[in-house]
Amino acid sequence: MSLYGVMLVVRQEFRVRLRTGRWRWLLGSWVAVLLLFTALLDLSLTGATGPRGVPLFGGLMLFVLALVLIISPALTAQSVNGDRERGTLATLQVTRLTATEIAVGKLLAGWGVGLVALALALPFVGWSIVEGGMTVLRTFVVLLVVALLIGVVCAISLGLSALLARSITSALLSYLAVFALTVGTAVTFGLSAGVIGGDRATAKVWWMLAPNPFVVLADATPKLPPAFDIQGHEIPQPGDPLGELGRSVRQLRDPDYYDEYADEPQHHPNPGPVWPYGLTFDLLVGAGAVWLTARQLRTPAARLPRGIRVA
């Protein structure tokens, strides 16, 4: 694999896509939706305790994550089989580009578009920072995790597009995969906990929730530092959707743990974080999907996916 080959594929994908779609309209409406959401959320927070930046940022990023999870499958779910259907894949495969270069290039192109969407949310992130209460670390980590999750969904969709003959099927399955990661993990967790029963059921099945992108994002969000007023009295923390979601997920690992123990870990150890498991799992699935894509693109092909003509 060479950078030259990867970048050639990325540039080509970008060029071909940018000239087909109505990107200006799509990106314009994306920004309009974010503007409307941020403005309404900001208005609804009037009168809330503490700086409004924290809840504004949390709400915004959960909203952005939900939207990019919907957008991302569309970016790569037809990358391979769509090219096959249009008859442009085989001519690419007989050049000196390798299967890995084509696979990685197509992933980066789709991921790149997703990152552009994320970048367009930055002004609204700035808005929440201006509202106060945010830290640089928290902003950076949350954006990074969302960026990685976009890549994971793009990779899964790319893998499906390489595995399946029809682009409609792979697009549908990509959305099902996102559904499984979000709703599926929650339902599986809930049902399993119910079946096991008892007070400590969630301690046995908390890991089922770990791959959930919302859980990963919330739990990976760094804690807010305690804030004090001029007299040195601690200010009550503002509403924090990300932090609260993260805390409640950790609590599932240890149902006997209460927030009051947080300051005295010697009395009751804090339950460990959930996000390293979830993020590692998601990244491994994504990496596996890219590996699978490259394998499917490798020629000369011994076996072909069902219903495929090479050219």
Partner: protein
């Protein structure tokens, strides 16, 4: 422009005979390939010499496209020996790719790009560097008569023009072996003549050209050799001139005075067939016998206007081959 032909002194030894690849751009021996329950190739043999155009002829489903996909490094054969430009496409696909050009029968183009951008992308994908790349692109545009379309988007091209663009793409890296699957389909008569001239020029420059086609009358003008395939096997591999000389084909003769012609034929014991405006049908004869008859008729004082084979030799040979199938 001169096409550089790289020659390799690798030899394949199999079954007691040896071929050196300095002579052949493509050598295939006993190639088989199945798709699930369907056996597309059942032991196909083929040689494509450098400096010649070889025609691959056979009915639909004979395995022509499958064979070309194997030669183009896209499909792995189940069994058999394959060498393209002296290299094994299974073990060294990238080596083969830099020496082989392929044009599929059905293909898509990046509709959004301009003609020049399209070629430039593939030049980059073949890792040609700047100056060489620009030279080759201009060259491809000239050879395929697309120069005036260089800056127009690909989607405005007609089917035949896209076909020519794909041919230009296949030649960008000056391959020593050129594989063309149905290149003439969709081309207008002028483009076909130009394609013929282009392929002849490439062969003259030393390229090994393999063309599959259904348009037999045209292949006869383009090709030096013909390989007949049917049901995944090679039926016959022949020099086209030999084919014409040996093959018993139908002939037709037309004379200024049809009655004199009939009388002369009767006298020579030749059973004449139906007569039409195009002439009188004669029984099947080899070239030698036909030449003899023509000389005789002229000697008899018949004023012969036209004398020639009905259809093309290739066509009659092809029809005879597919007849056996029924």
């Amino acid at each position: 422009m001169r096409i550089a032909v790289r020659r390799y002194a690798v030899s394949i030894v199999r079954g007691g005979w040896a071929v050196t690849d300095t002579e052949y751009g493509v050598v295939a021996r006993g190639v088989t390939r199945g798709f699930g329950p369907v056996q597309a190739l059942r032991g196909l043999d083929l040689t494509v010499p450098y400096g010649q155009v070889t025609a691959l002829v056979g009915p639909n489903g004979a395995g022509k496209t499958t064979l070309l996909l194997i030669l183009a490094t896209l499909l792995r054969p189940d069994f058999g020996e394959v060498r393209v430009a002296g290299l094994d496409p299974v073990h060294d696909p990238s080596g083969v790719r830099s020496r082989m050009g392929w044009m599929p029968d059905v293909f898509g183009v990046y509709e959004q790009l301009t003609v020049r951008e399209y070629l430039a992308f593939f030049a980059a994908a073949y890792r040609l560097d700047g100056a060489v790349s620009n030279q080759r692109i201009s060259d491809a545009l000239l050879r395929t008569h697309l120069f005036e379309y260089a800056n127009r988007p690909v989607h405005i091209l007609s089917r035949g023009q896209k076909q020519r663009l794909a041919l230009g793409r296949a030649m960008l890296h000056e391959p020593a072996v050129l594989l063309l699957d149905e290149p003439a389909s969709g081309l207008d008569p002028r483009s076909r003549v130009e394609l013929r001239d282009l392929l002849r020029a490439l062969a003259a420059a030393g390229v090994a050209v393999l063309v599959s086609s259904h348009i037999l009358s045209e292949l006869e003008e383009i090709a030096d050799r013909v390989v007949f395939v049917n049901e995944g096997r090679t039926v016959d591999e022949q020099d086209i001139h030999q084919l014409a000389a040996n093959h018993m084909s139908q002939w037709r003769v037309r004379a200024a005075d049809p009655d004199a012609l009939r009388a002369a034929l009767e006298q020579r014991g030749v059973t004449a067939g139906a007569s039409s405006g195009a002439g009188t049908e004669l029984p099947a004869m080899a070239e030698d016998a036909a030449a003899e008859l023509l000389a005789g008729l002229v000697a008899d004082g018949v004023r012969v206007v036209a004398f020639g084979p009905v259809g093309s030799h290739l066509e009659t040979a092809y029809l005879a081959m597919t007849q056996e199938r029924r």
